[in-house]
């Protein structure tokens, strides 16, 4: 059971670093949402920064991969993303097709390389 719950300190960190900083924006939206224009310039900037941060996280997983993903060669990870993205564009932006093809390239490539 202790391995299921893990370390209580980590659960406290989850709330301080994860739940509160995230939830605060939803609750602000609930409280003050009435008078804000969805197309305002401030929100365009905020959305651009949020998108670039998320892109940075995607890049981090690809460039400094965690755990088992680190056993896949760099070129193969990048290649899988490039092929997946090409398929995503070719299929009128099908997320499913892009993810499936990216995965197939990576697994097939790793299997072939041994």
């Amino acid at each position: 059971m202790s391995s299921f719950i893990g370390d209580w300190h980590a659960l406290v960190v989850l709330f301080v670093a994860g739940v509160i900083p995230n939830q605060i924006w939803r609750m602000l939206g609930l409280w003050f949402g009435g008078g804000l224009d969805e197309g305002s310039e401030l929100l365009v900037w905020v959305r651009a920064v949020a998108t670039a941060i998320l892109a940075g996280v995607i890049a981090q997983i690809l460039v400094q991969p965690p755990g088992a993903l680190a056993s896949v060669p760099d070129g193969l990870r990048y290649g899988a993303v490039v092929v997946g993205f090409a398929v995503f564009l070719a299929t009128k932006r099908s997320i499913f097709a892009g993810v499936a093809c990216g995965e197939i390239v990576m697994v097939a490539g790793k299997w072939w390389l041994g």
């Binding site: 994860g18 609750m27 939206g29 609930l30 949402g33 900037w45 920064v49 993810v99």
Partner: protein, 247 residues
């Protein structure tokens, strides 16, 4: 999925509206994307040495894929609590306009703010998209119950996906564990690319990917924040320059 007509007597029961909302998760391809995403987050959390309970608690209480991935990967790579909290909070700002735009769709003159707390919590990109698709087919006074059902269904499914991903990462061969971890960057890259409505969003996505490796060279411990703020601000500048050129 076929819902009864707006004036049907079936809509009189809020419990039934909740159940319809919950079963609506079976009628969308986004459910599959969400499942793959949370499978990946489960595997990522395992390989970054978080417990299963921690992972499930983060899904239930944070309920925002990007924030969870940022949290797991920053804490996992040794960032301080404050650095993680800032990165998570910046990623979560986008929830503010989403909540602002979703709530008026289900408010009635009798709605109290506390009735909307659960809906505000459940609001994330998937629910936001589905609100626009389903709510026109739901009578206004049953929309809160319907969306609570839909949102709870999505959370439940994600908790299952999380658990499967976590256990698979622990037990699978390196190859397949790697494949599950790879779901996260692929699913997020494509779903973000799909949501790019304006030029600024697309430029921000491309710059965010390209600038992160450069930002790691600074070794400031805030790599993602640095590349994100710089990339996003340049993208906003492009948006402004283009707006001026058109005007």
């Amino acid at each position: 999925m076929r819902l009864p007509p707006l004036d049907s007597a079936h809509w009189q029961s809020p419990v039934r509206a909740f159940a319809w909302g919950m079963s609506a998760i079976t009628s969308t391809v986004l459910t599959l994307v969400l499942f793959a995403t949370y499978l990946g987050i489960g595997a990522l959390a395992h390989d970054t040495h978080f417990s299963l309970a921690w992972t499930l608690a983060s899904t239930v209480f944070v309920w925002a894929g990007p924030a969870q991935i940022i949290l797991v990967s920053t804490l996992g790579s040794g960032a301080t609590i404050l650095q993680s909290a800032i990165a998570v909070s910046v990623s979560a700002i986008r929830l503010f306009p989403m909540v602002v735009s979703v709530l008026p769709m289900m408010r009635t003159p009798k709605t109290k703010r506390r009735h909307l707390i659960l809906v505000a919590h459940l609001t994330a990109v998937t629910l936001w998209v589905e609100c626009h698709r389903f709510l026109p087919q739901v009578p206004r006074e049953r929309r809160i119950a319907f969306i609570q059902g839909l949102g709870c269904g999505l959370v439940f499914l994600s908790v299952i996906a999380n658990t499967i991903g976590y256990l698979l990462a622990a037990n699978l061969s390196q190859l397949f564990a790697g494949a599950i971890l790879m779901l996260t960057p692929l699913a997020f890259l494509f779903s973000t690319a799909r949501n790019c409505r304006e030029l600024a969003d697309g430029v921000a996505l491309a710059l965010g990917l390209a600038l992160y490796p450069l930002a790691t060279l600074l070794d400031s411990g805030l790599d993602i924040l640095v590349s994100g703020v710089v990339g996003g601000t340049i993208a906003y500048g492009v948006h402004r320059a283009r707006a001026k050129a058109i005007a």
